[in-house]
Assembly symmetry: C2
Homo-oligomer: 140 residues x 2
Amino acid sequence: MALPNGPVTTSSQAEAVLFDLVDAYDRAYEAAAAELSLTPAQACLLGRLDQRRGMGALAEELGCDASNITQIVMRLEALGLVTREPNPRDRRARLVARTPRGDEINQRFATAFTFARTAVGRLSPDEQDQLTALLRKALG
Amino acid sequence: MALPNGPVTTSSQAEAVLFDLVDAYDRAYEAAAAELSLTPAQACLLGRLDQRRGMGALAEELGCDASNITQIVMRLEALGLVTREPNPRDRRARLVARTPRGDEINQRFATAFTFARTAVGRLSPDEQDQLTALLRKALG
DNA sequence: CCGATTACTTTAGTAGATCAAGCATTAGTC
DNA sequence: GACTAATGCTTGATCTACTAAAGTAATCGG
């Protein structure tokens, strides 16, 4: 995603800074993934595998078609970062799990993606709480 | 962009809500674009044409390759939403401008993308100012 | 006037995404 | 227990976004 989800008309300052935040976040996420030769989608999926998961569960959680997950998992498998094990309880299903190398890459990604950590770190603990409360309220 | 740029490890609540915000924003942007049969990239580019612009300027502003812009503009042109006029001052360059229909679609997109407006609207004017200040500080 | 740069396009390739169709396997029903 | 329906995933086709490399045309600097 190189093109930002930019504002068409930015009526308020708060909306403008909201956009700046989203844009910066997305770019930083992509850059961190690129450092590890991952696409954003691959980094995202890898990050959801703290416990092994079925393809369908991943598709639902990430809000996309199952066949999309199939492809991303295939590429991660080719990179040696995940495995697709048969589910003993249901032979239709597969359980996706990170390999040790997948764990390592995921950890390095978490280290490389400093954006949220850094941004929050610029605020005092009190300010962090304020921000959390305001954003929760704004999210409804 | 269906897969969110999700957190790998979410150390603080502020980071988690930051992710929720970005995820919700991106999804809402995509959904609003889809309502008008646009892709997010198309809606984004269309939104940057309040004044006519060169291809290179768009590429730089959106942080992607010029050839990418060429293609997106081609599709928008095929949809009748933009024109590519020759630049009288430099016959290498093209000036991209919205057509009347492009203006209309862009306006309807702005109406359809309610996310930022709605989110900010849940806050009082004072809270909006606080949020703006906090996010500016967090963005460094 | 000529070489270098600029502005954009073309071509080729990868990846994300969706839809439709297909194949197993499991679950429900009679 | 067999038949049908639903589930879980894969395959194939098609689109868009994006990048990199190479190409074309026009402008600029000397």
